[in-house]
């Protein structure tokens, strides 16, 4: 039996980095990610008396973080956030050729162009490796919604990235279908 304050610190220290990364991959802004997660913990502490209503703390934290990230995206629709890589390195990485860099930037931009909720769900699936059922449970939405959103993400992203795909695909899709091929 220990001080609640100590327990809270333990949870904070173990979950803070994880949650910051989830938020970061959705909104691509490190300072904002940390602020978001700080707020969530602050709220958690303020509502500690009502914590008996929470059955799954991980789901609670993921849900809060994801929703806050979605809200952030909605509020900052017109803000273009420089990709983290650009901020930290400033100089293009030596071992990456120009095409690679351009590709990376395009990928980042393509993801940034997804609708907020779609982007968040996609990030949880692709980057966090969460199963659809897990995502649905944590965010309290239906599995159908998750399936739908990831599908939308895939089509939109395919559109944006088409020029960058392996040549044979772009050629094949541009030319009319020829019988016998």
């Amino acid at each position: 039996m220990r001080d609640l304050h100590e327990d809270f610190e333990h949870i904070f220290r173990s979950q803070f980095p994880v949650l910051c990364n989830v938020a970061f991959n959705i909104i691509k802004n490190q300072k904002a990610s940390e602020d978001i997660v700080q707020d969530i913990f602050l709220r958690l502490w303020k509502n500690k008396d009502r914590l008996d209503e929470v059955d799954n703390y991980k789901a609670y934290l993921y849900r809060s973080t994801t929703n806050a990230a979605i809200d952030y995206l909605k509020r900052n629709k017109n803000v273009i956030t420089l990709n983290q890589r650009e901020i930290t390195t400033g100089v293009p990485e030596a071992d990456q050729n120009v095409r690679e860099q351009e590709l990376t930037r395009t990928i980042d931009k393509a993801l940034a162009s997804l609708p907020p909720k779609c982007r968040a769900i996609f990030v949880l699936s692709r980057h966090e490796g969460m199963k659809y059922r897990e995502i649905a449970e944590y965010l309290e939405i239906s599995v159908k919604t998750v399936e739908n959103q990831v599908g939308i993400a895939l089509s939109k992203l395919r559109e944006s990235l088409r020029p960058y795909l392996t040549k044979e695909f772009t050629e094949a899709s541009e030319q009319p279908r020829r019988a016998g091929l």
């Binding site: 990364n21 990376t104 990831v150 695909f169």
Partner: protein, 279 residues
């Protein structure tokens, strides 16, 4: 065939049947090309994933400033259940005012304080909430609802003492020179340093559960009855002036084991699970 199903396939989120359907679809016409396009996009997107290393120490500093309240000092042992304790009338009472067989929840009138020779006592009682507080030797007590604990303001050089009505969990600081005695109803529990739970609710029945360490359990008013030694993992019951011992029942033991595991669960559990069976 649509992007949804292909995405499900690529992310490993579809059933065996659906998988077979997709594989069959791929064999037809030019579908494999389309499929590979999707797969390449899927692979490319992994490049977007980044890791950041936030300054957790700094973040903790910031947040702990915001959550600190005046009465919460780190070293000192105040809990935020102090509200419950503070709400109680903390008036030194003479020990004979404690009527062990009173039903829980009855209001105790503050005693007239004799100024001269009587030792000063502290009494903590709870009604609707839990109280956590520390005894003069820094032993920790978690007092359940509708309970009362009385103890001297200062412990003597030979022993430490507290008197309980209701239910409390004790975490006693080891002190070989000063054994700790808890009197609950007609039982007397002697400890050196350990953690245990005492449940003295209805009438004269007392239940002692030992979590860590060893305690001695005896009945104070029945002469000749031997002192029992209760060890970790066992409990003792005083019922109808008969003492019986046994193992922890499963649910309690599970809870004690849980506390060693997931700290967060304890954090939540403190509100919900603690003493639920008796509230």
């Amino acid at each position: 065939m649509n992007a949804e199903i292909i995405a499900g396939y690529l992310s490993g989120n579809i059933t065996e049947e659906e998988r077979a359907l997709v594989d069959a679809w791929r064999e037809k016409d030019d579908n494999e090309t389309l499929f590979n396009e999707c797969r390449e996009v899927w692979e490319l997107l992994a490049k977007d994933r980044e890791s950041i290393l936030p300054d957790t120490d700094l973040a903790w500093k910031k947040i702990s400033e915001s959550i600190k309240t005046p009465q919460l000092k780190k070293k000192e042992t105040r809990s935020f259940y102090r509200l419950a304790a503070a709400a109680c009338i903390m008036v030194p009472v003479l020990i004979y005012f404690l009527l062990f067989h009173k039903p829980a929840g009855e209001v105790v009138k503050p005693a007239q304080i004799a100024e001269h020779t009587t030792p000063a006592f502290t009494e903590i009682y709870t009604t609707d909430s839990l109280a956590q507080f520390y005894l003069p030797d820094s032993s920790r007590v978690l007092l359940n609802k509708g309970s009362r604990l009385t103890y001297p303001e200062k412990f003597g050089p030979d022993s430490r003492y507290a008197c309980l009505t209701g239910e409390a969990f004790f975490e006693i600081k080891p002190d070989a020179a000063r054994p700790f005695f808890v009197e609950a109803g007609e039982s007397m529990i002697k400890v050196l340093g350990t953690s245990f739970n005492v449940n003295h609710r209805s009438g004269a029945d007392v239940e002692l559960t030992v979590v860590t360490g060893t305690v001695e359990f005896s009945t104070s008013t029945i002469p000749g009855k031997p002192k029992l030694v209760i060890v970790e993992g066992r409990k003792a019951n005083l019922k109808n002036r008969e003492v019986s011992t046994g193992k922890h029942d499963k649910s309690q033991k599970e809870w004690w084991q849980e506390r060693k595991k997931n700290r967060f669960k304890r954090f939540l559990g403190k509100i919900k699970k603690i003493f639920r069976k008796t509230s």
